[in-house]
């Protein structure tokens, strides 16, 4: 290794400079961290962290192919005991006869679609690894109308040109916003069946969203209203510090 000779003073000076920079940068890191934590919160996350989540979203939506398919499994691989998590938006009673999916095309122009009308559309089944943002996952089996089929059938083409789809439960107790490419993903379903039977109440009877390219927080149970927007629709968990995109 390279050797050099210096006076004692010179060596001391070199060390002092290095240590001064080391300590200075150390303080900067510490105060930088404290600064981030002190920043005003935007939807539950300090501004710089919220901005970095949004930056990641931009990177994802620019670099990635949003039509990539999620891996599917045989029906036999599906879990019979489906894990239940979260009942926000499900506290009212619901009646499948009177329930309607309200699709807001524009102000004062709302479609009302019944369960039997939905069931009359072509059905698709999917068995995939459902992933919760908490970190667990489960292979589960769902059936319903592909969102794309639904949009085409009800001639919602112009609305689907907007950037986002918003969904709410009938009581507005739970709500999500979905970027349109994910909403129109071929595996996204307006789902009315689990394991080949009608959805259980706690799984979102009569109709829920199944969107395999997103974490479970986006799979809204018991859809009441659907609308379209260029602004990000309100999102229950994104208001509580989570990533808005929450996609895979």
């Amino acid at each position: 290794m390279e050797e050099t000779t210096f006076t004692k003073r010179q060596v001391l000076r070199k060390s002092a400079i290095s240590f001064a920079i080391f300590i200075l940068v150390g303080f900067m890191v510490y105060f930088g961290y404290q600064w981030v934590k002190r920043q005003p919160k935007i939807a539950g996350a300090p501004r710089p962290l919220r901005e970095s989540l949004n930056f990641n979203e931009q990177v994802s939506s620019r670099l990635f192919d949003s039509s990539r398919l999620v891996k599917e499994y045989p029906v036999s691989a599906a879990e019979k005991k489906v894990r239940f998590n979260g009942s926000d938006g499900l506290r009212d009673s619901v009646n499948s006869g009177t329930w309607r999916l309200r699709v807001v095309r524009s102000a004062g122009d709302t479609l009302q679609i019944s369960l039997s009308e939905l069931k009359a559309l072509p059905k698709k089944e999917i068995v995939f690894d459902f992933k919760c943002i908490e970190g667990w996952s489960q292979v589960t089996h769902w059936g319903g109308v592909p969102m794309k089929t639904f949009i085409d059938h009800y001639r919602l083409g112009p609305e689907s040109q907007l950037k986002y789809m918003g969904l709410q439960t009938p009581d507005k107790g739970y709500y999500v916003g979905i970027d349109m490419p994910s909403a129109l993903h071929p595996q996204t379903l307006l789902c009315y069946e689990m394991n080949g039977r009608a959805l259980p109440l706690r799984e979102g009877f009569p109709v829920r969203l199944i969107i395999p390219v997103k974490y479970g927080i986006k799979h809204l149970k018991r859809i009441g209203t659907m609308f379209f927007s260029n602004e990000k629709p309100p999102d229950f968990w994104a208001e509580r510090g989570y990533d808005y995109y929450a996609g895979h």
């Binding site: 290794m1 390279e2 050797e3 050099t4 000779t5 210096f6 006076t7 004692k8 060596v11 070199k14 060390s15 290095s18 240590f19 080391f22 940068v25 890191v29 961290y33 539950g44 996350a45 300090p46 710089p48 962290l49 919220r50 970095s52 989540l53 990641n56 994802s60 990635f64 192919d65 990539r68 398919l69 999620v70 891996k71 690894d129 992933k131 919760c132 943002i133 908490e134 970190g135 667990w136 996952s137 395999p212 390219v213 968990w237 509580r240 510090g241 989570y242 990533d243 996609g247 895979h248």
Partner: protein, 227 residues
Amino acid sequence: MKTIVKKHPLAIRWFHWINFPVLACMIWSGLLIYWANDVYKITVGGKLLFKFFPESFYKALNVPFRLAEGMSWHFAMMWIFAVNGLLYVLYTFLSGQWRYLLPNRRSMKEAWQVLLHDLRIRRFEQPFLKYNGAQRIAYTTILVMGVGSLITGLAIYKPVQFGFLTWLCGGYEWARLEHFALTIGYVLFFLVHIVQVAKAGWNNFQSIITGFEVKKPAADTKTTDKH
């Protein structure tokens, strides 16, 4: 007059000290995330040996119910962790520093001798200035682990877009376990690293800040530096 020996290039010192707080933040935020689904444990013959982690541990560190906070830090710092790590690898290979880092034919034997020495079983005078065999193996392993954390991390973060990586890791749940195990590995490495640095003394420690070591006038043929 003093003779100094150049040991760590400026770039490597920066990479090292940037990585320290960044990795600390990744481990801490990772713990906040892990808590939300803390399923890993060590069992021997059906008997629980250790649960990752005991409630008291979470409580002491104020971990519970901070998943969103953990994710937001984790997915911000991941960029710095990845870029700093990649620059370190690039620099190490382009500058020729890899010659000091990668294990060679002697490293295995030397690492064994270092281990015996450290366990006070047999004395071993280290003939090299920069890294001994044990260090070469340890620091190269940590580099490979860093790459592993990136791969397993991407496999969990974007399992659809990086489906190939998820498959490579043996699936989503395996990837998460591997990501976790690597983190435990960093913590164990850190503990050993700290003990070794403390044992090696001030002259060695200050070289990762100043870049050089001062050669002792009497022992100009034998420098016993490590770590």
